[in-house]
Subunit: 138 residues, 3 copies
């Protein structure tokens, strides 16, 4: 069994951003030399997400609006977590979007559907944060 | 290490449907000959889900109603994604339900709890769509 | 390839509770002797969750309040599932929080970010329920 590990670093300009990281994850897979196996890609921070969806700006706008409705950022005082922090909403938004994706590796490639793209979802940005890529297989 | 891959195809009669795919996933596992490992089962489409829950019609009715409350299908114009599409709500419903499940394989069987059943959750159906089953182990 | 399996049992005093199970999961990893691989930790029950978030009581209070808003326990009659049961809301709350986490194993340790802690999320407690830890690797 082979295994591979890499951290991807991000520092967004805005509090919330979606970044298509599919090319970086594909590069990891190529570097790993693994042909058959499983690839885990997870946020290492609890106010960020790795998820799979469509790379369509209209949808990203809709998701942002929807997440704000489900777990509004303000007023900050509505959350007990926001004593020293102001990011309780980010914990919830990431919970809805998910921490991680597991993707099959087949024939040395991500075994994805036609529109599946891997995103980093930042909900408390403007500082350096990490994503982990771990691949195991042969 | 052994690996196994299979696509399961679905075409639902309704826009939204839940289908218990546990027997098909178990058949994949038997075919794979893998005794110890991990099984990934994921929707290959971004408006569908694979999730684990109870096979109880009352609960499925409740989930349908609940998802419609969290992310209503109509009016279509409330979503910017719905220019050429009408399925923005399906992207959100699938986000709540999740893209994938990872299930342990132990002694050649799905290592599931007593009520755990694997479902295909369709949120934009009436066309052919796929689920991926990937198993690695020994 | 090595594989390891263990069940962790819980019986909470309250209907809903979050329990930090990171030490127990780390103990499993040590017992397994696996240095590189993937660790799956999942609820074996469909009204419970395993998730990763911050071990901060204010946040847990916020999550409890937020989940009650998204999927209220009462009135019980609002859910068709609640014929013989009263736990339809628990199925929904666990859906939001997620069934499972997959964590990378690197150098014999959980490859976690600085604040990542693994939790058992109980939404229909006061009876014995289980979590599965499955690890594969070398």
């Amino acid at each position: 069994m082979k295994s591979y590990r890499k951290e991807l670093w991000f520092e967004t300009k805005n509090r919330r951003e979606f970044i298509n990281i599919t090319p970086q994850v594909e590069k990891c897979l190529t570097e790993s030399g693994i042909k058959e196996g499983l690839l885990l890609c997870n946020a290492m921070h609890i106010t960020a997400s790795v998820f799979i969806n469509d790379d369509e700006p209209g949808l990203h706008h809709d998701l942002e609006k929807w997440l704000e409705k489900l777990a509004p950022e303000k007023p900050y005082e509505q959350y007990r977590h926001n004593g020293y922090e102001d990011n309780a909403d980010a914990h919830m938004k990431r919970t809805v979007m998910g921490r991680e994706v597991v993707v099959a590796v087949t024939g040395g490639r991500l075994d994805s559907g036609p529109w599946e793209q891997i995103f980093y979802g930042e909900f408390d940005g403007m500082r350096r944060k990490r994503v982990l890529v771990k691949i195991i297989g042969e």
